[in-house]
């Protein structure tokens, strides 16, 4: 069958690619709702390094997606079943390493085509079923699973004193991570540290929110999650090193295009553990779906999902990326191409 793939060929420019796909294997899914990630936006805006753009484009963007099973030759899913899609393609089988970091693993929408396709075919282990989640919310499952992955690793790596956890950042990643941390560390006092009073006001479910330049005297946390990224990475990491207690664990989650200087002297003095955490695997998706099937959790997420108009043309794709630039949190949209 001829499948349509909507590829970014250069910043702001999409083109159509037709692929002759054998849909008699694996699970065939019709994407229903997609959500935009900052990573997609960086490709769209041309903010990645020119050499990276040259190497990776043309490529279909978007790795956050929920859809409907149209057919499944493996017999794992029912026709019409609602599912979320895992963009990570595991590489070398290595028991010591998470599937999402193993050598040889690939990521759809970073080097391979993402989900801006008419139909997507995936092996059954890259598909997670869900029930009772509104589609615009379900479309950000990958995003939630990244939060789950970080919280899971924090719980495995951090020392057992977890009375206070600090989250640096006030964007959608910080919001989702805060939601997940509140669930997975119910005893911990959670503080969110940001730069926008308006954005911080949406974190109604954490114990404290602070403006980064107005942290109270004596403020400290046992462990921290950095969710700033970009230009904010430097300031967030610098603050974390200042305010974290000795032997705390720092989860680094924000992406920065530039190198970030850090005070290694203080990391050494405090004996800190710095952990990179970005991508999620199947277990994280399953946990994310479990959390999202809870109505209260889902309601919280609704606050950060802006549903744009459906996409029915390439011009609509461009509109979605422009909308996303103008909205503070996540942009989700019905995919009708």
């Amino acid at each position: 069958m001829v499948n349509y793939v909507y590829q970014l060929v250069s910043p702001h420019v999409f083109s159509l690619e037709y692929e002759d796909v054998d849909f008699t294997k694996e699970v065939v899914i019709r994407p229903r709702y997609l959500a935009v990630c900052h990573a997609d936006q960086r490709y769209y805006q041309g903010q990645r390094d020119a050499a990276v753009l040259r190497k990776k484009l043309p490529m279909a963007l978007i790795h956050e997606c929920c859809g409907e099973v149209i057919r499944d030759c493996t017999g794992t899913f029912q026709r019409g079943q609602k599912v979320v899609l895992i963009p990570n393609v595991p590489g070398n089988d290595d028991e010591m390493i998470y599937e999402n970091y193993a050598r040889g693993s690939r990521f759809l929408s970073s080097g391979s085509d993402g989900f801006m396709r008419e139909f997507v075919n995936l092996p059954p282990d890259r598909v997670v079923p869900y029930e009772g989640i509104e589609e615009p919310i379900a479309s950000i499952s990958e995003f939630v699973s990244v939060g789950v992955h970080a919280a899971t690793r924090l719980s495995l790596l951090a020392h057992s004193r977890r009375e206070s956890i600090g989250i640096w950042g006030d964007g959608s990643l910080a919001y989702v991570v805060a939601c997940v941390v509140r669930r997975m560390f119910p005893q911990a006092k959670v503080s969110v540290i940001g730069k926008s009073a308006a954005k911080l006001s949406s974190f109604t479910f954490v114990h404290n929110t602070y403006m980064a330049d107005m942290l109270p005297d004596g403020f400290s946390v046992d462990h921290a999650l950095e969710c700033a990224g970009g230009e904010g990475s430097y300031y967030a990491i610098d603050d974390i090193i200042t305010y974290i207690r000795p032997q705390g664990t720092v989860m680094l989650m924000g992406v920065s295009e530039n190198k970030v200087p850090i005070r290694t002297r203080d990391i050494l003095e405090k004996g800190l553990t710095m952990v990179g955490s970005s991508r999620s695997g199947r277990a994280d998706f399953e946990k994310a779906v479990e959390l999202m099937e809870d109505k209260k959790f889902q309601s919280r997420l609704r606050y950060i999902v802006y549903e744009d108009q459906p996409v029915r043309s390439i011009r609509d794709i461009q509109r979605v990326f422009e909308t996303d630039m103008a909205t503070p949190f996540k942009t989700s949209f019905r995919w009708e191409l």
Binding site: M1, V2, Y18, E19, R71, R79, E118
Partner: protein, 238 residues
């Protein structure tokens, strides 16, 4: 209920490149009609897909189903085609009513078998449009200037291009309405019909428009065939 109707009744070839109807030529690694059928079979809103095939090619079509879509054969019904396009549609309509009974609500999505690049958006918008309006046609804005000539020698008229569209398929209808309009036509009127939408137009039944795609091309000539092969990254055979 909602039915697909893939029209493959023709036997003539304007391509002069093969001894078989063009819908049975290979595109990539399977026949054109199989690509088209596979796209329809992925539309979960269709209850059944009928394929109208010239009587001489019924067995060949059955072989293709066995070979390419063995696990979805029960979703497809092969119907002998009639003398022309609209006769084939009516044969399919009769078969639908034989299989499922007549209903005021049946929708039929008719489509050229030689348009394998149809998209799911176009199919779904056809279904939505047929449900809402009773009749829809898939069109794209005309890019070339259309010239009218009554005698084929001198221009009679050059219509405003902004009002000109090129018809594609699918064309979708409320089945009962389409049958009633068709059987109301005289034989002379039927003779001048080149497509199913005209059945509605000559009886003043509004036909709404669905936006097609330039890529939803009809593979009619050797150049179309070469373009289609290039689009999916293969080489034309011929």
């Amino acid at each position: 209920m909602i039915f697909g109707a893939i029209l493959a009744g023709g036997v003539g070839s304007r391509m002069n490149i093969a001894d078989r109807p063009k819908q049975f030529l290979q595109l990539g690694d399977k026949p054109i009609i199989v690509h088209t059928l596979e796209k329809f079979l992925l539309c979960s809103r269709l209850d059944k897909v009928y394929v109208g095939v010239h009587p001489n090619w019924l067995l060949h079509m059955q072989d293709l189903l066995d070979k390419y879509v063995p696990d979805q054969k029960d979703m497809v019904v092969i119907v002998p085609g009639g003398g022309d396009r609209n006769n084939t549609i009516m044969n399919i309509a009769d078969k639908i009513e034989e299989d499922f009974g007549a209903s005021d609500d049946h929708i039929i999505v008719t489509h050229d078998s030689v348009r394998p690049f149809v998209t799911m958006r176009i199919i779904e918008e056809n279904i939505d449009g047929a449900l809402q309006y009773g009749a829809v046609d898939t069109v794209i804005e005309a890019t070339d200037t259309i010239v009218v000539s009554e005698d084929g020698k001198v221009i009679t008229e050059i219509p405003n291009r902004k009002k000109m569209f090129q018809g594609q398929t699918p064309q979708s209808f409320n089945l009962k309405m389409l049958k009633e309009l068709y059987h109301d036509l005289s034989e002379e009127e039927k003779d001048i019909l080149t497509d199913a939408c005209k059945i509605c137009v000559v009886r003043d039944k509004p036909v709404h428009l669905v936006r097609g795609e330039v890529s939803n091309l009809k593979i009619t000539t050797i150049s179309d065939y070469k373009i289609a092969q290039a689009m999916i990254g293969g080489n034309a055979i011929g």
